[in-house]
């Protein structure tokens, strides 16, 4: 991995209100995330963690408030979203997935093998996604974060279906990314192996 990279993105959220349908999930949410921040989102099911992440990703228009990105011309090109679903196609092999993500998201072809190795899937890179376990599928989508360098990581329940080794991998990836000046915002029910720099509780 290129350790000399340094990201410059700062995220500022001001008085954000989000609704799904007619139901206002939350209003008046404000926080900042400077380079190196690891923000944990907490709260019960249905409180709006996923909606907040999707609003930050630009998919969901907020009811009111502002989301500002400093240091990125095109926010959509400066962020990764790891959703509930892994985005895998059953008949394509793991390496093909990573190669596709590199092409689609602006990564270098030279980053494909290192990404696969980092998530521990080099041995199964030629196997079609349908024979991979849930945990392996999740790891494969983690490889997407590595193959195309983007400053902001929006992670929705990233450690779901990961075993202990997988969770340790996730923690070290977050570590590295924050160390390079990246920003990680992750929603989860459980504790992360690495301590967040700030926690936002949605209720």
């Amino acid at each position: 991995m290129d350790g000399s990279r340094s990201f410059q993105l700062t995220l500022r959220v001001e008085r954000l209100a989000i609704a799904r349908g007619t139901r206002t999930l939350f209003s008046d949410l404000s926080f900042d995330a400077a380079p190196g921040a690891f923000v944990a989102l907490r709260g019960p099911n249905g409180v709006g963690k996923t909606s907040l992440l999707r609003a930050l990703a630009g998919f969901l228009r907020p009811l009111s408030g502002r989301i500002a990105f400093a240091g990125a011309d095109e926010p959509a090109l400066a962020l990764h979203l790891l959703g509930h679903r892994d985005g895998l196609k059953a008949s394509l092999d793991a390496r093909a997935h990573v190669r596709y993500w590199a092409g689609l998201l602006g990564g270098e072809p030279s980053a494909i093998e290192p990404a696969l190795a980092r998530v521990g899937l080099s041995a199964v890179a030629d196997l079609p996604a349908r024979v991979l376990s849930q945990g392996q599928g999740r790891r494969l989508s983690l490889a997407r974060l590595l193959v195309a360098p983007r400053a902001l990581w929006l992670l929705d329940e990233p450690s779901a279906s990961l075993d202990a080794a997988g969770k340790a991998l996730l923690a070290s990836m977050i570590d590295e990314h924050c160390g390079q000046g990246g920003v990680v915002i992750a929603a989860a029910h459980e504790e992360f192996a690495r301590a967040p720099t700030q926690t936002i509780v949605l209720a």
């Binding site: 059953a90 899937l121 041995a123 199964v124 196997l127 079609p128 024979v131 991979l132 376990s133």
Partner: protein
Amino acid sequence: MLDALANPQRFMAFSAWATPALALLAALLFAVGIPWALVYSPADYLQGDSARIMYVHVPAAWWALMIYGFMGVASLIGLVWRHALADVAARAAAPIGATFAGLCLVTGSIWGAPTWGTWWEWDGRLTSMLVLFITYLGYLALWSAIEDEAKAARLAAILCLVGVINLPIVHFSVTWWSTLHQPASVFRPGGSAIDPSMLAPLLIMAGAYAALFGALLLANMRAAIYQRRVEAAMTRRARSA
């Protein structure tokens, strides 16, 4: 014998020698049959040399039908007795039957064109064969569309059996329909008496088609079994990684 072949290992051992043997037999029969059909048998008194295509067309038609019957039997055995390789056999036979049906249609078109004046005429028998061809396509499409192989096998078996019932109904309807539109069928053999000098090469070609079907069927089945093994191996590799 069927029981003996239910074991994939034994089937693989059997087909390892049977496939090349049948392929060789097919090659020999074609080597005898094709020259006999195309050169040495008598020309038809009405249609001349163009009728020689009958020797390709008629066996293809017979076998397209018989292969579908074979698939029906295999489907039934697979459904009722859960014979391990019956489903594999049905699926392996389908592309061969479809190709024979397609060959029958194309040769029928070539054969009839001089007589009809166009490249296709809606003759009763050819139309039935066209419906059979599409039935084959639907069967193959169903297999490809369902992910779970065991489920696909059973669903395809049901489809095949229903198709077996449908085919005589279609043939009857189409023949009745064609008598409305065409007084006489273009194709004589199979329905009327065939001169013995034409019968022998016809039977040899039919035998060649049979051997070809056998060889291709076994080859397809072997490929399907290998495919299963590959899938299992891939799953094992993923688990152990």
